[in-house]
Amino acid sequence: MADIRPSASIEAVESGLAAQGYIASRQIATAVYLAQQIEKPILVEGPAGVGKTELAKAIAAWRGMKMIRLQCYEGLDEAKALYEWKYAKQLLYTQILKDKLGEVLGGAPTLEAALNQLHDFGDVFFSKEFVEPRPLLQALEQPAGCVLLIDEIDKSDAEFESLLLEILSDFQVTIPELGTVVAVAPPTVILTSNSERDLGDALKRRCLHLHIGFPEQKLEERIVESRVPGISQALRKQMVSFIHEVRTLDLKKLPSVSETIDWARVLVLLQAPELGHEMVKDTLNVLLKYEADIEATMPQVSTFIAKASRQNVFG
C-alpha cells in the first residue's frame, strides 16, 4: 500500500479544477478522485447555489470531456431520459419499403412461407437506427467517456429513481427490443439534489455521498478571487466576512456562493472602494431574494459592516 500516493493525486484534482475556475475543498477533491478510482457516481447535496452543478461543468472542462446534462422535473420519464423509438421514421420507412416488401414476399407460395421469410429479416424496424437516444443513453454511447450530470434528482418522481439504478451501478441500460447497452467508457456521473425530498436508500447506496455546505471564509475568498479577478483584496475580505455574518441570521434563504459572486461583480461594477453602509443597503437585493429577509437584515447592516472591517484589520 506504500506505493499509492493518494494525497498527490487529490491535489492534482484540486489544481485541475482550480484551473477551470472551480475552487474545491479537500473533501470535494477527494470525492472526485474516488469517483474516478472506484467508478461510482457522486450524489451532491447542499443548499442552492453552492456550486453543485458547477462542479460537473468544471470536471468536464478539466478532463476535456463532453458534458451531458439531464435536468430532472416532475413527470420526467423513460422516453425523455433514456431512449425513444423514432415512430415517424419507422412509419416512413414502412411506407417506402412497401414495394420492396411485396417483391421479397412475392415469391412465397403460401402465407406461411411469406411469414417465415419475413421472420428472416428480423426486427428491422426495432434496430439501433430507429432508437432516439436521450441523455442517459447518449452518455453511455460516448466513445471517449463523458460527464453525465443528473441535475436536481429530488425534483423527479420516486419511480424515476428506480430507472436510474441500473445505469448507476452497472453503467448499462436494458432496452427490451435490443438487449443491454453497456457503456463504451464508464461516464463520470454527478447527481445533484437540494434535498427537497428524501431520496431512496437504493439510490443513495450506489453513490458517494458528498455534502457541499457553505464554504469557510478562506475558501470563499479564494472562490471570489478566482471568479471576480477585478476585486481588491481588502474589499473581498470585507464582503466575505459580511456574508458570513448574514448567514448567522435566521433567514428564509441564506445567501450562497453564487450570490457572493454576483455581489462581488456588482461591487466591482459600482467601483466600490470598500463596504459602505449605503452601498450595502442599495445592493442588498442582490444578496437576499426575499423581502422579509431584506427587512430582517437591514437593521443589522451597520453592525455587520463594523464587524467585517474590524476582522479585516486584525485578520
Binding site: 500500500m1 506504500a2 499509492i4 493518494p6 494525497s7 487529490i10 479537500r26 473533501q27 477527494t30 470525492a31 478522485y33 474516488l34 478510482q37 472506484i38 461510482k40 418522481d157 425530498r197 428524501d198 436508500d201 443513495k204 447506496r205 458517494l208 455521498h209 458528498l210 455534502h211
Partner: protein, 458 residues
C-alpha cells in the same frame, strides 16, 4: 488491516450509521485506493462512502475520531500503527514507576510477559494487548456488565498465569525485581481496563441504547421516573419522526388505471364517439382529518405530557388536525401546538386547562356547542383520557352524536382494561360508541395506535 476495518464498520453501526455489506465493500475498495497514510483523506473517504445523510456524517466523523484517536507512539513503525489503536489513550497508563536500570540480566528465565513488562517497551506491550484483545474477541462486547469478563480474558491471553508464577518465584529470590514487576502489572491492568472501556464505548453503544429504548418503550408512561422523562421525550420524538417518514410522503394521484368508458364516450360525443380524449378512472383517497381531544386533568397528568407531545407530532404529519385539551372545560389548542415548540406548547396548555379535576360531560358539552361542525364524515376523532369523570354526568349521548358524525371514533385509555368501569370510570358506557378502544399505556402502544389511525387513510 482488514480486520481493523471490519471493527470500524461495526463501531460505525454502533454509532447509528446504517451500513449495508455493499457499502462496506465500497468503502474497502475506496480505502484500497487512498491508502492509510493520510488520516484526513481516510476520514473523508469514509464520510463519502458510508454516510448517507448529514446526521450520519457527523456521527461517523465522531466515531472515526474516537476509533483512530491515539497518542502518537514514539517512532511508530508504519505497518503497526493501526494494530495499536486498541491501546489508544492508555499508553500513559502502562508507564509504571520504577527505575529501568539494571535487572535485565535477572530477567533470564522469566515468562514472556514478565520480560516484556520489565523491558518497558510500550509498542510491544500495546501490540500484545491488541493481539490478546482480538484473540479474546473484544469487539463482541455489548454490555457494561461484561467489562470484568473481557479484562480477565485479555489478561489470560497475555499469559498472566505465567507472570504470577514468576512473581512467586521472584518474591523469594529477588524482592526488588518482584516489586517492579508488581507495579508494572498494576499498570498493565489499568491499560487493559481502559482498552475494554473504550471498546465498550465503540461497540456496545448500539446494543445498550437499543436495550434501554426497548425497556422504555414498554414501560408504562404513568410510572416513568423523572430522570427518564427526557429519554422518553426523545423516544416519542423518534416515534413521531418515524410516523412522519412513513406517512408524509407526497402521494400522487394515480394517473394510470382503467379506462372510464362512460366519461370517455361522453367527452368524445362531439367527434361521433371516436375516442380522441380518454378519461381514466381515479381512485378516491381521503385526506386524513383528525380531531384529537386530550384529557389533561390531574388523574392523567403524568401521561398527558406524552399525549400532547404525540399530538404535536401529529400536527407535523397530517395537514388537517384540530386538537383540543380539557379537564373541567375544553379549549382548542391547535394554534398553540402548531406555532410553538413542544415544551412551550405543553407548558402553556397545562397552565390554561391542566391539572383540574376532569368533567367529561361538561367538556363534551363545550365541544358540541362550539366545534361540532369540525367533524365531517371523513374525520377520525381521537379521545385520549381515562374516562374518570368524578361521578359527574358522563353525557354519553354527546359522544354518540360525535361517533355518528365522524368516520371513526378512537379512544385511547392509559389505564389497564381491568380498571375500566371501576370507581368513577365511565369507560364501559363510552366504549359502546367507539369504533376502537385501546389501552395505551406505553410508548409502544401509543405508536401502534397512532400508526393505525394514520394508515387507515393511506
Amino acid at each position: 488491516m482488514r480486520e481493523n476495518l471490519h471493527r470500524f464498520f461495526r463501531a460505525a453501526r454502533g454509532a447509528g450509521v446504517r451500513l449495508s455489506p455493499a457499502e462496506s465493500i465500497d468503502a474497502m475498495r475506496a480505502v484500497s485506493k487512498v491508502g492509510f497514510a493520510d488520516r484526513t483523506i481516510l476520514r473523508d473517504t469514509f464520510l463519502l462512502t458510508l454516510a448517507k445523510t448529514q446526521d450520519e456524517k457527523k456521527a461517523l466523523g465522531d466515531c472515526f475520531d474516537l476509533f483512530f484517536d491515539q497518542p502518537e507512539p514514539q517512532s511508530p513503525p508504519e505497518d503497526r500503527k493501526a494494530d495499536e489503536q486498541d491501546a489508544e489513550g492508555s499508553n500513559g497508563a502502562s508507564d509504571s514507576p520504577g527505575d529501568a536500570s539494571g535487572g535485565d540480566e535477572q530477567a533470564e528465565g522469566l515468562g514472556q510477559l514478565a520480560q516484556m513488562l520489565l523491558a518497558q517497551d510500550r509498542n510491544q506491550i500495546s501490540a500484545a494487548i491488541a493481539n490478546a484483545a482480538s484473540a479474546a474477541s473484544l469487539p463482541d462486547i455489548r454490555y457494561f456488565t461484561q467489562r470484568g469478563i473481557f479484562s480477565g480474558r485479555i489478561l489470560d491471553q497475555m499469559g498472566i498465569q505465567r507472570l504470577r508464577d514468576d512473581l512467586d518465584n521472584l518474591a523469594a529470590t529477588n524482592p526488588a525485581l518482584a516489586e517492579r514487576l508488581t507495579n508494572a502489572l498494576d499498570g498493565l491492568r489499568g491499560t487493559v481496563r481502559d482498552t475494554v472501556s473504550q471498546a465498550l464505548m465503540l461497540y456496545g453503544r448500539e446494543e445498550a441504547e437499543n436495550l434501554r429504548n426497548e425497556i422504555l418503550r414498554n414501560a408504562p408512561l404513568s410510572r416513568i421516573e423523572p430522570r427518564q422523562v427526557d429519554q422518553m421525550r426523545h423516544l416519542i420524538r423518534q416515534i413521531a419522526r418515524r410516523l412522519r417518514e412513513r406517512y408524509s410522503k407526497p402521494r400522487k394521484r394515480q394517473r394510470r388505471g382503467h379506462l372510464d368508458v362512460r366519461r370517455t364516450i361522453r367527452r368524445n360525443a362531439a367527434w361521433g364517439g371516436v375516442p380522441f380524449l380518454t378519461a381514466w378512472k381515479r381512485r378516491h383517497r381521503d385526506k386524513p382529518k383528525i380531531v384529537a381531544l386530550c384529557d389533561v386533568s390531574g388523574s392523567v397528568a403524568r401521561v398527558s405530557d406524552f399525549f400532547l407531545l404525540l399530538i404535536h407530532s401529529l400536527h407535523e404529519v397530517v395537514d388537517d388536525v384540530r386538537s383540543f385539551a380539557f379537564s373541567g372545560h375544553l379549549i382548542e389548542v391547535s394554534d398553540i401546538l402548531e406555532s410553538k415548540s413542544p415544551e412551550e406548547a405543553m407548558a402553556e396548555i397545562m397552565s390554561k386547562v391542566g391539572f383540574g379535576s376532569s368533567d367529561y360531560g361538561n367538556s363534551f358539552d363545550d365541544f358540541e356547542r362550539e366545534w361540532m361542525n369540525a367533524i365531517t364524515p371523513q374525520t377520525t376523532v381521537i379521545v385520549l383520557g381515562d374516562a374518570r369523570s368524578n361521578n359527574l354526568d358522563p353525557r354519553a349521548d354527546i359522544l354518540r352524536r360525535i361517533a355518528e358524525r365522524s368516520k371513526r371514533l378512537v379512544w385511547l385509555n392509559p389505564e389497564g382494561r381491568m380498571a375500566w368501569g371501576w370507581g368513577d370510570s365511565e369507560m364501559p358506557r363510552y366504549s359502546t360508541f367507539c369504533t376502537v378502544v385501546r389501552q395505551c399505556a406505553t410508548a409502544k402502544q401509543l405508536e401502534r395506535a397512532v400508526s393505525d389511525i394514520v394508515a387507515s387513510y393511506q
